[in-house]
Structure formats: C-alpha cells, structure tokens
C-alpha cells in the first residue's frame, strides 16, 4: 500500500507540475511538451486505477495524435516567444476588465471544485477496494455499445459534423 501511495503522489506531482509548466512557459513549443508530460502523469494515474486501456488510449489520442497536431501548428505558424517587451500592459489580456473576469471565473472554478468534492461520497476509499478490478476491454466495449449506445452515437455524429465543417473550411474556393 505504501508503494501505491508513493506512485500516486509521484504521478500526481508529474501531472500537476506539467500542467503548471504549460501556462508558465514563455515558449509555446515548451508549453506543448509540458502538456504531454502532464498527460503521461495522468496515464500513470489511470494505470494505478487498474484501467490500463484508458491509460493507453489517452496516450494514443491526446499525447500521440492531438499534441502532434498542436506541435505541427505551433511550428508551422512559428509562434514567437512571449517576450516581456511585447507582453506588457498594452496586451488585451492584461487590461483591467479581462483581469476582473478572469478572477471571477477562477473563484467560480474553485467553488465548484469544493462543492463537487464535498458531495463525493467515500473520498478516502480507493476504487480498487470497493469493487473487484474491471479492466477487461471486451466488457468496456459491451457496455459502450449497449448501456451507453446513445451517448456513443451522439458523440460520433458530433465528431463527423466537426470533421465536415473542417473540410468545408479548408477546401479551396472554386472560382
């Protein structure tokens, strides 16, 4: 159990530090890399929760596919470093109004988190203790295509719609 706790805190630290680095880096390429680091910490947490399938799929989709696209875009657009000279008070995000709205949103987020945590029963109990570990991919597939069929199909339609939208936007105009 002690080693479990040690692993949990290591992965949690990697996740949180990675996430903090994303917003604190000046160079956008480093931000992308920090996000990947954070995803790896998250994958470790999933493995600790006896969900290796979710962990690996998360790596494939987020760290593998989506972040490659992010990196591709950042490199292709050659986004400049956020230098102190440019990043001064004239920047729209540093105007008083933006700061105020940001502060309100941050407080709201903190309140929501606290509310959600206070309502979650049995926080101290590990998932593995309450139920026998269910990491069977076959079982996951069965549940996805029976109990959660509707959500699954709606998500598919949403993704197809956004894909069609992207194709339409990217298509060359025919004069």
């Amino acid at each position: 159990m002690a080693s479990d706790a040690l692993l949990f805190y290591s992965f949690a630290a990697v996740t949180v530090i990675g996430a903090l680095l994303v917003v604190s880096q000046k160079n956008p390429v480093y931000s992308v890399l920090s996000l990947i680091l954070s995803f790896f910490g998250l994958a470790g947490l999933y493995v600790l929760l006896e969900a290796p399938f979710v962990a690996v799929v998360q790596i494939i989709i987020y760290a593998g596919a989506i972040m490659v696209l992010f990196l591709f875009t950042v490199m292709l657009l050659n986004v400049p470093r956020e230098d102190a000279a440019e990043w001064d008070r004239s920047h729209p995000l540093y105007r008083p109004m933006a700061l105020r709205i940001g502060a309100v949103l941050a407080v709201l987020l903190a309140l929501e988190l606290g509310w959600a945590l206070s309502r979650t029963p049995g926080l101290g109990v590990g998932v593995g203790d309450a139920h026998p570990a269910q990491s069977s991919v076959a079982e996951l597939g069965r549940v996805l295509f029976t109990d959660y069929m509707f959500a699954f199909e709606v998500t598919s339609i949403l993704i197809i719609a956004s894909m069609v939208g992207a194709v339409v936007l990217a298509r060359k105009r025919e004069e």
């Binding site: 390429v29 890399l33 990947i36 290796p52 399938f53 690996v56 799929v57 790596i59 494939i60 760290a63 593998g64 596919a65 490659v68 696209l69 990196l71 591709f72 490199m75 292709l76 990491s135 991919v137 076959a138």
Partner: protein, 349 residues
C-alpha cells in the same frame, strides 16, 4: 527487508532480469548487425563488395563505425535550442527501446527446468500490448519533430514537419490494420494473438493471419515502412531534397542515437508483424519450446525485405505519399476492417 532480498534472489526475478537484458542488449546488437547487413545487401544489389577491410569479411565494420562516432566532435548550432536539441535524440531512442517491451519472442519457458514455473519470454505481458506498441510508436515522432524544430535550420524543420504530416496520415491505416487482427484473435495481448495462430488449415497451411489477412498485411507493411521512415517513404531525411532532413545538424553520438532508433524501430515493426501475421514462434519442424528460432528466422526475413525494398524502389514524391496514405491505404484498410468484422460476426472465423 528480508522479503525484498528473497524476492530479488528468487529464480523467477533473476530470469526476468535476464530477459530484460537479452532484449536490451539484443536490440543494440540487432542495430549493429542491421548496419552491416544494410551495407552488404546494398553492395550485393549494386554489384560491389561493400565493407570488407575491418575484420573477416568486414564483420567488424559496425564496431569501427561506433568508435568513429564516439570520437567525433559534438556540434551544436549556435541558434539551436540547447535543451530540446539534446532531448530530441533521447526521446527517439527511448521510444524505440520501449516499444519492444510488450513483444513476446518465444513460447513460455522454464529455461530447461531451472525455474519452478514457466514464464513468458517478453519483458512485460501487458493485456493491451497492441495498443501500447501503437502508443509508444506515436511518441517516437516527437524526437524527429523536435530535432527538426530545435536545430533551427530550414532543412531540419522541413524534415520534422514532413515527419509529423506523414505520421498522422499513416497512423490511421496502421491502427485499422492492427484492429483487424485484434478482431480475428479476440484479444489485445500479443501472446494470445500468437497462440490463436497455432495449428493448420487442411492439415498443411499454417493458421497464420497473413493468409486470411493478406490485404491487412500489405496495409500494415506500407504503414510500418512509413512509420519507420524507410525508403521508399523516407521523406523526413530525403537526401536529395533536404540534405539529411531532421538530423542535418546532428553529429557524433547524438546522430548515432537517431540512427540506432531507426534500426531498432525496424526490428520492432518486423517483430510486431511476425507476431500479428506470421504466427510468431509457431511453425513446422521446430518444437514449440525452441519456438524463438522460428521467431528469429521470420524476423530476419522481414528485416531483409526492408533492405530489399530500400535498394530496389525509388522514393515516392511527397504529394504521392500523402495521397497514397489518405486515398488508397485508409479506404482499403477500412473496407478490410468492415469485411473482417462481418466475417467474424456471422461466420465466427
């Protein structure tokens, strides 16, 4: 503490450590052998001698190459991003080694009765092995992309961008090909997929998935070659267009790490193909305890095919590569997936 010592000195733990070392050192040796084989095969196909001065038949050539790379000067362009420039080859080579971890290379064995129980001949028996290989493979591209970006040179950057575009286009077909085999075997564990391929059809055709999945194998081979950046899909380092692509600015051991990663990736993709389509360690004549001999034979053949293709096929044009990936491989793989799904569902293959 005594528990720990007992655990560390138990025969099973030691056997696992041995296996880890076999894989680690074996992959390094395979990379060296592949460098030699590559030059010899190229020479054979071009009617030359190839390396023949260092050692008998030039067999010590890889050692000489490595020594040379060791003593070369480590160069870094002034405008390069120092941290990422050093990190990129490490990512490449780590991902390459990591991808071999879930691959079994022989039937479970007790090492001639030395162990109380049989253990699997693989570093770790993950129950989602196919997905792990896929995930780690998609990590390898970061090494190339970052090398291209951090070098701060236009050839490197173009190489890196091509690599990520190529990766995105071929990963889908690669995944579809993997999914078809997973469907037929009904498992994501490589050991179970291999075991599903033992036995014979009509008494003489081995039950290897290459026969029912010939189309899938071709898709897998194309995508695998594109994933490992080998000719005829070696765009990230196309010499005639991009000098040396993403590793233009690299020298010495950093270059050697990219080189090693490329060869280890070839070994990994061939090993995966052996397990998924060629029945892994199952084969006629050799008893299953010595199945790793079959595995090595099949692996060596696939690696030879890699070299064979490189020295016979010219490189595609870049736009041809992209349209081939999206307009040919992906639709073919998708139709193959749907047909296989139907067959598995209604005929229970």
């Amino acid at each position: 503490m005594s528990d720990f010592i007992a655990f560390m000195t138990s025969p099973t733990t030691i056997a696992y450590l041995v296996i880890v070392n076999i894989v680690f050192i074996g992959l390094q040796l395979m990379a060296a052998v592949m460098v030699y084989a590559e030059r010899k095969v190229a020479a054979f196909m071009q009617q030359r001698y190839g390396p023949y001065l260092v050692g008998p038949k030039g067999l010590l050539q890889p050692v000489a190459d490595i020594l040379k790379l060791f003593f070369k000067e480590e160069l870094r362009p002034k405008a390069a991003d120092a941290f990422l420039f050093s990190l990129a080859p490490i990512i490449s080579v780590t991902a390459a080694y990591l991808a071999f971890a879930p691959i079994p290379f022989g039937a479970p064995t007790d090492f001639f009765g030395l162990l109380p129980e049989k253990i699997a001949l693989q570093v770790s028996d993950v129950n989602v092995a196919v997905l792990v290989i896929f995930a780690v493979g998609s990590m390898g591209v970061y090494g190339i992309v970052l090398a291209g970006w951090a070098s701060n040179s236009k050839y490197s950057l173009l190489g890196g961008l091509r690599s990520s575009a190529q990766m995105i286009s071929y990963e889908l077909a690669y995944g579809m090909a993997l999914a078809t085999v997973v469907m037929m075997a009904g498992s994501l564990s490589l050991r179970e997929i291999v075991d599903a391929q033992q036995g014979y059809w009509f008494g003489f055709i081995p039950k290897w998935y290459i026969f029912p999945q010939a189309i899938g194998f071709v898709v897998f081979a194309c995508a695998g070659i594109a994933e490992t950046n080998r000719a005829p899909f070696d765009f990230p380092e196309a010499e005639q267009e991009l000098v040396a692509g993403y590793h233009t600015e690299y020298s010495s051991m950093r270059f050697a790490m990219f080189f090693m990663a490329e060869y280890i990736n070839m070994v990994t993709v061939s090993a995966v193909a052996t397990n998924l389509y060629l029945g892994g360690w199952h084969g006629p004549f050799i008893p299953v305890e010595y199945g790793w001999i079959w595995f090595v034979i099949k692996l060596a053949f696939l690696l030879f095919v890699y070299l064979w293709l490189r020295w016979t096929l010219p490189r595609f044009r870049y736009d041809q590569l992209m349209s081939f990936g999206w307009k040919v491989l992906l639709p073919v793989a998708t139709v193959n997936l749907i047909l296989t799904a139907t067959a598995v569902l209604y005929f229970g293959l």
